[in-house]
Amino acid sequence: MIFLQDVNDWKNEIIERGKTFVENVKSSRQKAVQVGERFITDGATILTHGYSRTVKTLLLKAAQKKKFKVIVTEGRPECLGYRYAEELSLHEIPVTIILDSAVGRIMERVDFVIVGAENVTENGGVINKLGTYPLALTAVAAHKPVYGIVESFKFARLYPLRQDDLPPSQDETVNFSSVPPNKNTATKDLVKFFNPLFDFTPPSYIQLLFTDLGVLTPSAVSDELIKLCPN
């Protein structure tokens, strides 16, 4: 603890701390990747969902020393899966793109699933792109491990009990279809759209989280959060 008398000293200290924080945050992705690299084994088939830069960094780093295959979901409605697959294949990783709904069909060929996260909730669950929850459900039903790779600054003091507890981050009624639902203009407004960005995956479906603080089991996340805010 540092006690400062002058407002200017105070300001400078906060600015310094802010700079240190940014430095730490920049290195946290690399640390998380270093932790998770060991779990990517030679000859593995990896399934991933959504365009996560952390997962991409992990896969590219592991590809320098090991040979493995990646299966990427299309990721509607943004369809970032195509760009993701292109970027991975430029580094000579064999990539397959599948429809989001093909996850159940392909799960038996997969060795493990790895996803990034927007947030990690207090109980160790993960908030990630829409579709992560059914992917994790399918993986657990097929006895395949689900790993998350996430930097520790994404740990949040959120504790959703149900999917609807997630705050909406955009207009969830926007039309995402390129095909018009019906041609009858009189009933056009009767058809509603539900288009959330994220879903919540409960901790029981996640095996391990690779973070810059090391490998954590979901139950260890709340310990870290408690240390952060002692009250």
Binding site: T20, F21, N24, S28, T41, F153, S219, D223, K227, L228
Partner: protein
């Protein structure tokens, strides 16, 4: 870099383990503890940093030669934590590892070097080691003392193969409760027979069943009590071959699985790949098909893996000398035993 002379004690230990002169985890633990006592009292080191470098060198040597032999490395890691704690106590500085709190407050705490010289360190460490040795020696009795909390009259307990810890546990309870034990043979060496004979001599009603009979008998069993080789960081087990099947049968019938594990069996590593971390170590295939079978052996592959991995969902409780813990709590026990910087030393 540690010179070869310093590693000769570790090399002797590794060679004894490989040749089967030191077999049980308990004996390996005692040998490692003696080795560390010698290092601290007789080797030359000027400060904590040099001592830790020496011990880390030994851990690396053991990990390279015997990657699945975790007892020795776990005890050495624990001693590294004890050394760090001693230094922190003296210099009254907290050498906190990475934590979310440190990240967010962006505390400018310096890297702990541990290179201050500390006059009394040797004696403090030797005191700690003596305490630790007593803890090791009484660990089995302390686990056995908890038997009465877990075993009740007229229960049917199932165990697999031979484990000294489980044997003492059951015999302690048999002094005051009457219950039955079913022992699984555990091929191909059938250690279960010796276990059953020993239990029967103490007056416990014992039944021996073959490995294939586990599922059939599981519906009658009240509890499964087993030992293990190591406890992984996610709460899973690296146990003797066949235990995974027993655990699955127990899960099917909702029978609780209790694992008796000493603290030195808790290892901070994970099973990343079954081929490398579990099924790599195999015993002689002659135990399964003898060499006298002749030319047939040219046409078949025989595997005799020693270990099995049991995922944490199948384990109900870990019983150590400090009490019972759920598998999801193992991360907390690890953080108390080892310092995060010592988790991976390869």
């Amino acid at each position: 870099m540690p010179q070869n002379a310093n590693l000769s004690d570790v090399i002797t230990l590794i060679s004894d383990i490989k040749h089967g002169k030191v077999f049980s985890s308990y004996e390996i633990a005692l040998r490692t503890e003696n080795l560390l006592e010698k290092v601290i009292s007789e080797e030359k080191w000027a400060n904590a940093k040099e001592l830790m470098q020496q011990i880390k060198g030994k851990i690396q040597q053991v990990t390279q030669s015997l990657p699945l032999e975790t007892t020795a490395t776990n005890i050495m890691r624990h001693i590294l934590k004890v050394i760090r704690e001693e230094c922190d106590q003296v210099s009254k500085k907290k050498g906190e590892g990475q934590s979310l709190h440190q990240l967010v407050t962006a505390d400018q705490s310096e890297e702990r070097d541990y290179s201050e010289s500390h006059g009394d360190l040797k004696n403090c460490l030797l005191d700690h080691l003596t305490e630790y040795k007593v803890e090791l020696e009484t660990s089995t009795e302390n686990i056995a003392a908890q038997a009465l909390e877990h075993i009740h009259t007229k229960e049917i307990i199932l165990t697999v193969g031979k484990s000294n810890t489980v044997e003492k546990f059951l015999k302690h309870a048999a002094g005051q409760r009457s219950f039955q034990v079913i022992v699984v043979e555990a091929g191909p060496l059938y250690h279960g027979h010796k276990m059953a004979a020993s239990l029967a001599l103490s007056g416990i009603q014992t039944t021996v069943i073959p490995d294939s009979g586990v599922f059939a008998m599981m519906s009658r069993v009240n509890k499964v009590i087993i030992g293990t080789h190591s406890v992984m960081a996610d709460g899973g087990l690296r146990a003797a071959s066949g235990v995974h099947g027993v655990a699955l049968a127990a899960k099917h019938y909702s029978v609780p699985v209790m694992v008796l594990a000493h603290m030195y069996k808790l290892t901070p590593s994970y099973v990343c790949s079954h081929e490398k971390d579990t099924f790599k170590m195999c015993a002689s295939p002659a135990n399964i098909i003898p060499y006298s079978t002749g030319p047939l052996l040219n046409k078949i592959n025989v595997y005799n893996p020693i270990f099995d991995y049991v995922p944490p969902e199948l384990v109900t409780l870990f019983i150590s000398h400090q009490g019972g813990n759920a598998p999801s709590y193992v991360y907390r026990l690890l953080s108390e035993l080892y310092h995060p910087d010592d988790y991976e030393l390869y």
